[in-house]
Amino acid sequence: MESIKHLIDRLSSPQILFFGSLVILVLFLVNLRRSTSWKVILGSFAALAAFYAWALMDKNFRSIVLVPDNVPITLLLVLVMFFTFLGFRKAAANDVRIGKGLGPAEKDETDLRVFVWPDLVYVEFICLILLTVILVAWAIGLQAPLEPPANPSKSPNPSKAPWYFLGLQEMLVYYDPWIAGVLLPGMIIMGLMALPYIDPNPKGNGYYTFKERPFAISMFMGGFLVLWVSLIILGTFLRGPNWNFFGPFEQWRIEKVEPLLNVNLSEYIWVKWMGVGLPKSILVREGFGILGVIFYFGALPPILAFTAFKKLFRQMGWIRYNVMAFLFLMMMALPIKMLLRWSFNLKYIVYIPEYFFNI
C-alpha cells in the first residue's frame, strides 16, 4: 500500500501531470469513437470513484481534498469529465453521419419547432428543482469555512488565491507577476474575444463535431483542460508550503526544501559556455534572450505561414492569421517555459532586474 502511494506521489509531479494530461487529451481526440464508448466512460468514472474511495482513507489526502473550499474542484473534475464525454460522444456520432452524407443528428430536428410551453418551460422547471435540491443538500452537508480572524502580520504558508485563480498562481512558478498575473490572463480574455472573428471555418456551427474543426477544438481543449483545469488541480492539491510540490499522499512539511538550481539564459551563455563572465552592457548581456523573444514573436508567424499553418494562412488572410498566430504563440509561451525549466533549469530568458523586466 505504502509503495503504491509513493509511486502515485512520484507520478503526480508537475512534469508528469502536464505531459500525462496532454497525452490523455491527444489519445482521447485521436479516436473519438473508441474513447467515448461506454466501456471507456464507465471505466473512467469507476476508476475515479475507486481511487477516491481508496485515497480518502489516507490522512494526508483527506486533509487536502476535504478542505471545504477544495470540494468544488472535485465537482469541477467530475463535471468536466462528464460533459467532455457527452459532448464528444455526440461529436463522434455526428462525424460518422456527416461522413455518410447524412448531416449531423441535430439537423433532423432543426426544422421542427416545438411550443415553449410545455416543452421548454418544463425542462427549465425540472432543472430548477434539481439544482435547488443539489445546492440545498450541499449547503446542509458542508459548512462554509471560517478561519481565525484576519491577521495581516501572520501570513499562512502556503498563501493561495481562490481556487479558480490557481492556474494563474501556478504560472508564477515560471513567469513574473506582470506576465503570469496581468499579461497572460489579459491574453486569455483577448483570445476568447477574438475567437469568433479569427475562426474562418463556417462548419460546425450549431452542432457537435470534431472532424470538421479539428484545429480550433484541439487548441481550445489544450488551453482549457491542460493549461487551465489541470493547473488548478495541481495548484490546489499538490502545492504546499513555499509552493513546493507535494504528492497527494505526502504530508505538507514546511521544512521540505527544494534546491534552487535555476540559471538565467545569460549566465548559461556568457559564463558557462563562453566562460568570459557577464558583459557590462545590459543589451549585450541579454542580447541572446532578447533576440530569441523577437524571433519568437516576429519571425515565427511568417515562418509558420509557409510551413505548418500554410492552409490556415490561406483561409484566414493576413490580419486574422497574424492575430491568431500571436495568440497561439502567447498560449504556447507557458508550456515552452515549463519545458525549458524542467529540462535545463532555465530561470529567465531575459533577465533585467535593473528595470524589473524579466521574461
Binding site: 449531423p104 416545438v114 446542509i140 458542508l142 491577521n151 485563480f165 507577476p177 469568433p196 475562426d199 456551427n205
Partner: protein
Amino acid sequence: MAVPTKPKSSPKDFIFKSQIWKSIFRHGKPNTHRNRTLVMLSNVFLHLHPIKVRKSGVALSYTWCMGGATFFLFLVEVITGILLMFYYRPTPQYAYTDIMQLREDVSFGVMRELHRWGAHAMVIAVWLHMYRVFLTGSYKPPREFNWNVGVILLVLTLLLSFTGYLLPWDQLAIWAVTVGSNMARAHPVIGHEGPGSPLVTFVVTILIAVHFWRVRKDGGISGPL
C-alpha cells in the same frame, strides 16, 4: 313549459371563472395552440422566451442547461446576498464577528452556505456553459457579439466571486485576496466596498438581459443551418 335553468356551476368554475382568476390569467389552460401562445405572451417572466423553439435546442444534451444553471445560480446569489446583507456589516471591525454570529447563533442557518457554494457553483457553471457554446460552434456568425457579451460576463462573474471572497475577513479571505491582487499588481481597492460590489452586480444584471435578448435576436439557440 320548462323554465330555462341556470347551468350548474362546479367548484372548478367557481375558481377558474371567477373575476379574480380571469383578471390574472387572460387565457384558458395552455393545452391548445392558441392558449400556449397566449401564456407566453401575457406573462412577463415567460415572455423572455419565444413562442416556439427549435426542437434540437430544447434537448438538455445539447445545451447542458448550463446557461440556465448560471442564471439560476446568479439569482440565488442575489437573493441570499441581500438576505445576508441584513446581518453583516462590511467593515474590518464587524465583518468577522457578524459572520461568527451567523454561524453560531442561527440554528439551521444555511444562508451563508447557500451563498458561498452557490458562488463556487456559478464559476463552474459559467465555464461549462462556455465549453458547450464552444463545442457547438455557437460563437460563429451570427452569434459573435453574444459570445463577447458572454466573455465579459465570465470576467465579471470571476470578479464578483473574488470580491466576495474577502468579506468574511478571516485568514482565508485576506490572504487569498492578497495573493490574488498582488498577482494582478492591483491594490485591494475592493477592500471595504461592501457585499458583492453592488455596481458590478448591477452591470452583470444588465449584461444578462442583453445576453438573453441577443440569444433570441440571433435566431434562438443555435442549430445546423
